[in-house]
Amino acid sequence: MRKLAEWQLALPLALAFASIFLAPLLMLVGVSFFNDDKISQPGFGQWAKFLGDPFSYKVIADTMLLGLKTVCATIVIGYPLALIYLDASPRLQKVLIFIIVMPLLLSVVVRTFAWIVVLGREGVVNTLLMQLGIISEPLRLLQTELGLVISLTQIEMPLMLLPLISVMSRLDPNLRDASSALGASRWRTLFKVIVPLSMPGLVAGCLLVFASSTTAFISQTVIGGVRLIYLPLLIWQQSLVVFNWPFAAVVSLTLLVSVLTVVSALSYLGRRSGGYVHG
């Protein structure tokens, strides 16, 4: 009786998962196997249409590349930030963590529109560069991949920093002292001790940033416009503009599978190189 009671505690959650996650997912799979947008004729037509079109592969590749570029940018900027956080005094750490978490407290829409102000033709970046005489004509940043990567880097940064900081601050501070006392320079300590040991946090951060930036429909459309086409935009067009639900389901499943593939590859690599957590 007692044993039964224990697993029964998980039932509400299991039911919720089944009804609001698993069931729609299965419906999505089901819908994708219909040939027409009325969902009346079963068949593989939509899959054949999507997979037979070279344009589809370009969109998939662009979406994955966008994710990878964002991941790289968040690492390049986020890792040094995490190191600075680690060295900061407790009071400064509180200020830093507030700054890091703040983007999460704002709506994605607000953050994205803020970036329009920054990156626009008459925006902050262009005005500044022109006044400094570095450029003579405004740079085109909006509706380019560069602008999108820049804004996604800021928008997704908390997802990189939070796991990274949480793993790093659990590292034994004596390890850095030990490395230094053994004669290692700061760089050697960084690459031989801190980076390998912070790998679990880094991998977690990469997964979150990748999954979140490849599916960031609002930022992708608002900053990238309709000129840059990624999988989420395609899904939106097919489902809510053209009302071709079976095709939208095909694209959705493609996005799901591609993200899952990259995410599992990343986490496999991460586990192989850094499966030792302190303690």
Binding site: D172, S179, A181, L182, G183, A184, Y276
Partner: protein, 364 residues
């Protein structure tokens, strides 16, 4: 096996008038220590006394506000930790968890630019020195606490440091292993002739391993001397109370002549003792006497005071008596068990024949 590691020339270590401040608090306050080549010195004191901070200054992790640290006469204050060539073993060993035992030991050698076979030869030699020759490819988490400590020791020794620092090295080990490791570290230190500083809060550990002990309190060194001197002739009340157990009895100096003083105890006895400097007739004093230097007797006398016997606990080969003097002072008296007569009438306490009580001024 131990001869494989040659003794290098031992260095002197001088700490001169060293102070460390954190904000407004002073962690280390004007400490001066002159440590001889090849000597083992224990920094002993309660937590927060500044002993670990002092160790971290010597290692270079903490910068002092004033004062100097010299190795063989040359100041090392301007050097970052990675250029000081000082070996340190941390309380939690701080082994790199993602590296094998061999990689841990090789770490300092590779950082010094040594390569291939030379690194391998030294790693093998030092792992054999700490009797872990067969554990090269293990990860630290696959080792017991004692083995981890040996690896930490081999790692610190492999760089052939000029000074060895040990931060509470035995605190995480269980009792039996602790004694083994104490003996082993002492033996290694002798073979290598390394000047060694050991931080500990455990007086037994300090007594058994160290040649000299610096007892620290509130950032200051209260006394720096051999274990015997510290135990038998504590210079301050703090040292007196911190090392071993002791009985403190109130009294006054009744008379002084030719360097000897007669102390009238409030418990009702007069004791003749060596006169302490700077105390006049009538000065209030505390007499400190170790429990094993007191004895019970059934005979009253001028140097015996009446007591009310309490519990008697047999602890190993000893019998620990608890008693109360007439002025309310609780006393602890330790006697060898076989010397105790089954005599209930022993209601007087007196100094044993070899007693060396200490006198300290008492503030009233």
């Amino acid at each position: 096996m131990q001869q494989a590691v040659k003794a290098n020339a031992a260095r002197t270590l001088d700490v001169e008038d060293l102070s460390v401040r954190y904000g407004t608090s002073t962690a280390v306050d004007g400490v001066t220590l002159a440590i001889e080549p090849g000597e083992v010195v224990a920094l002993l004191g309660p937590s927060g006394c500044g002993k670990t901070t002092l160790l971290r200054v010597i290692a270079g992790f903490v910068r002092q506000a004033t004062g100097r640290v010299r190795v063989d006469g040359a100041t090392i204050d301007h050097l970052p930790p990675n250029q000081r060539n000082i070996g340190i073993v941390f309380q939690n060993y701080a082994l790199f968890p993602h590296m094998t035992v061999a990689e841990n030991v090789a770490y300092g050698l590779r950082a010094r630019g040594l390569k291939g076979p030379e690194v391998e030869a030294r790693v093998t030699r030092f792992l054999e020195t700490v009797q872990l020759g067969g554990f090269k490819d293990r990860l630290p988490r696959q080792l017991s606490g004692g083995q981890q400590q040996r690896v930490a020791l081999a790692r610190a020794l492999a760089i052939e440091p000029s000074i060895l620092l040990l931060d509470e090295p035995f605190a995480a080990l269980d009792r039996n292993l602790r004694l083994d490791m104490q003996i082993e570290i002492k033996r290694l230190q002798r073979t290598l002739g390394l000047t060694t500083i050991l931080v500990t809060h455990d007086q037994d550990e300090a007594m058994s391993v160290a040649d000299r002990i610096a007892v620290m309190n509130k950032g200051k060194v209260e006394q720096f001397g051999t274990p015997v001197a510290i135990y038998d002739e504590p210079q301050t009340l703090f040292v007196n109370g911190f090392i071993g157990t002791t009985n403190l009895m109130n009294g006054r100096i009744a008379s002084l002549q030719n360097g000897s003083a007669t102390v009238a105890l409030e418990a009702g006895a007069t004791i003749d003792l060596t006169a302490p400097a700077g105390l006049g007739i009538g000065a209030p004093v505390l007499m400190s006497v170790r429990p094993e230097q007191l004895t019970l007797s059934s005979v009253p006398g001028p140097d015996a005071w009446k007591i009310e016997p309490g519990l008697a606990l047999p602890i190993g080969a000893q019998l620990v008596h608890e008693a109360r003097a007439t002025d309310g002072t609780f006393l602890k008296i330790i006697e060898p068990r076989r010397a105790v007569a089954a005599d209930a009438a022993r209601t007087y306490c007196t100094l044993a024949a070899d007693a060396r009580p200490m006198l300290f001024p008492r503030s009233t």
